[in-house]
Amino acid sequence: MIAELGSFSLMVALAVALVQGILPIVGAARGNAAWMRLARPAARALFVLVVVAAACLVISFLRDDFSVVYVATNSTRALPLRYKVAAFWGGHEGSMLLWLLILSFWMFAVSLFSRHLPQEMVARILGVMGLIAVGFLLFILLTSSPFERLIPAPEEGRDLNPLLQDPGMVAHPPMLYMGYVGFSVAFAFAIAALLGGNLDATWARWSRPWTTVAWSFLTLGICLGSAWAYYTLGWGGWWFWDPVENASFMPWLAGTALMHSLAVTEKRGGFKVWTVLLAIFAFSLSLLGTFLVRSGVLTSVHAFANDPRRGVFILLFLSIVIGGSLALYAWRAPKVGLGERFELISRETMLLTNNVLFLSAAGAVLLGTLYPLFLDALGLSKISVGPPYFDVVFVPLMTPGLFLMGIGPLARWKQANLPEIGIRLKWAFGVSLITALLLPLALGRWSGLAAFGLWLALWIFAATMVNLWSRLRPLPVSGLAARLRALPLGYLGMLTAHVGVAVFITGVTLVKTYESEKDVQMDIGDTVTMGPYTFKFNGVTNGARENYLYARGAFEVSRNGHVLTTMSPEKHQFVVSKGEPSTVAAINRGFTRDLYVALGEQDGSSPTAWVVRVYYKPFVDWIWGGCLVMAIGGVLALSDRRYRFARSTSRDVAEPTLSATAAA
């Protein structure tokens, strides 16, 4: 019954979504207020219906209802509770339902926080989102229902993929989808603006917080995924440029460009057309990512052969949404106009450069991701484009952008003065350069690449501090805390996010240059030394936990003769789905380094001998720390007072002064 209730709920949701997608938009075109007013209640009803459907799926999992195909393929009785919930998004059908759930959550949020928007705008935004929901509902109901029955029900389910039985699985997909799907709001704003023909600074101000919040979620989601891969794959990598990762990274790049472009549109009324295009791109790349991941065109053509309807459906949907919005763009954008003019040397130019670089990077990633598909389509067969391509293309594209990050925030809007910026940043430049040249020596080995990466990070950090100081100094209050409090949060958020980038670059540079690893065969009592650390192998113990057997190694770690800790990497063999055993590395985390031990295979030479991988990873946690700082920057910017909705008119008057200080 529960599963049928879920299906039914989705069918009703489809009807509601059709109403929400059609009537308010038509109403906005014809000036029919009653139809426009339908948008909010429809969006809320849709949210409730989808929540009911999602709850039905969760309950089916919790009750071990193996008569539901999806539950039978993704769960077992013995599966721990948290993974029974997370198994929701462990397969294709549930992932799609999660997509829809989050989309309807965002619609619900828009329906709540849109009181200050004109009626027509709300009608169009929720209408567009309703149409997207129609597409996903049809997709789920026609090709990918998680509520299909399997009669007679099997006694036991087939278990959630062991690789997914990890705390990472609980948090990573929802976060990522919150980001992906969150761009649908900015997209809907852009389409609504194109339909209505009014693309002004107010429009940008409304879109901005939604974009920032989606971007923050996406940043966190990608970061969690990377941290998860790091400890679970057993070889200490943190980014693999694989198609699924790229699928989440492309919307992030476009979204980052969009955030910066929105700043120009809001503050200066410039880049209007460009901003709209970026909003379309960010969401289109999210959809494309969904297509690539879900249709299986990239990883394996066969995965798809059993149900070609799915791929055709998503592609059709993709064509309608992306093709339709790009056609709308081609039709309406020429009337919008380009916005305010600006000089060659100005903050606008720097942000435009930033946008072009980010978009080129997204394009390069897209090309690298789809290249195998292009070749395949042209009859040239299956290949794999690896990190060499991405490293070669990505680093040079991003480097100028990172350099500009130091200068851009100091440049005036409209017309800036390069010599003046030069004078303000000469110390930041000199100090960062000299420190970066010397720092690698202190780390043990000079390397040009390390010096270069460190210089970029230090430069961004130093320039950001110069910027902060120039804003703090003239404030009429005393004390650092009071001065900081006097600055707008939007501005502090930007600086924080930029510092996050510096932290991230530091992590990437140092771990790339100074990491070391050893693959050794170890028997009980053997030791391996890495830098100042010695690892002594004390054997493996076996046991059983929840739904798997484990082998747990014990390594005594000492530094210069002093015992520091014991590290216990594990191998897990899941009982139900007898696949490859999964690896759980032991990581001793530190501010400046991680020690990482993973068990490999049992070595044939002796019953107690194992192949062991030991890694020393300097500053690796700075990679995720940097992402976290970036996301915190996003949240800070979001908390800026000017986004508070009950805004008094006096603040509106105060706004120009605020941007005047920003320019100063």
Binding site: L315, A327, L380, S381, P388, R613
Partner: protein, 176 residues
């Protein structure tokens, strides 16, 4: 005319959709290589494990051998590798690797980690020999006979099925 540029994104998307559409219906079929039944291109490369030793095409004359193109950065190779390691244990044919556009360091680590099915791996950092062999991508595998003629080319990873149905029967024939 000046409105045309607003159509560029749409046009690009239409092209992309075409490819995606085609991608949906594609079968991963192997394309016959123009090199089949032609002499294997000449090469002389150093070994990955030992920069001091080199191997050339003519050193291999007189035996049937497999040339497997791989790289430490290649994801599909990772998938293929256990199949090769198992197959190497049968000792049916010597397997030589062509380490394509890779670094020695990474390649050695990779072999140490995942096992080494190769008699030796040839080091082709700039992919020049790969180009001569018409390598589209990695992995690829060539069966070369006693006279130095390419008899078969596998594009993409070798699966146990391909090994069993195509490569092993061919090797039996060539070795007979």
């Amino acid at each position: 005319m000046r409105y045309l540029r607003y159509l560029i994104p749409l046009a690009a998307f239409v092209v992309l959709t075409g490819f995606l559409m085609k991608g949906l219906w594609m079968d991963p079929h192997t394309v016959p290589s123009p090199l089949i039944d032609k002499p294997a291109p000449e090469f002389r490369l150093t070994q990955v494990a030992d920069p001091g030793k080199s191997i050339g095409r003519d050193d291999m004359l007189g035996k049937v051998w497999l040339l497997n193109v791989w790289a430490s950065w290649c994801v599909s190779c990772r998938e293929e590798h256990p199949v090769l390691v198992e197959f190497a244990k049968t000792g049916m044919v010597p397997i030589y690797g062509l380490d394509y556009k890779d670094t020695r360091d990474e390649a050695l680590k990779w072999l140490e980690r995942l096992g080494n099915p190769y008699q030796a791996s040839l080091f082709d950092p700039d992919g020049r020999v790969g180009i001569d062999y018409g390598v589209y991508g990695v992995p690829e595998t060539y069966v070369i006979d006693r006279t130095g003629t390419i008899r078969y080319k596998q594009i993409g990873p070798i699966t146990p099925e391909i090994l069993h149905d195509k490569i092993v029967p061919l090797l039996r024939k060539l070795n007979a």
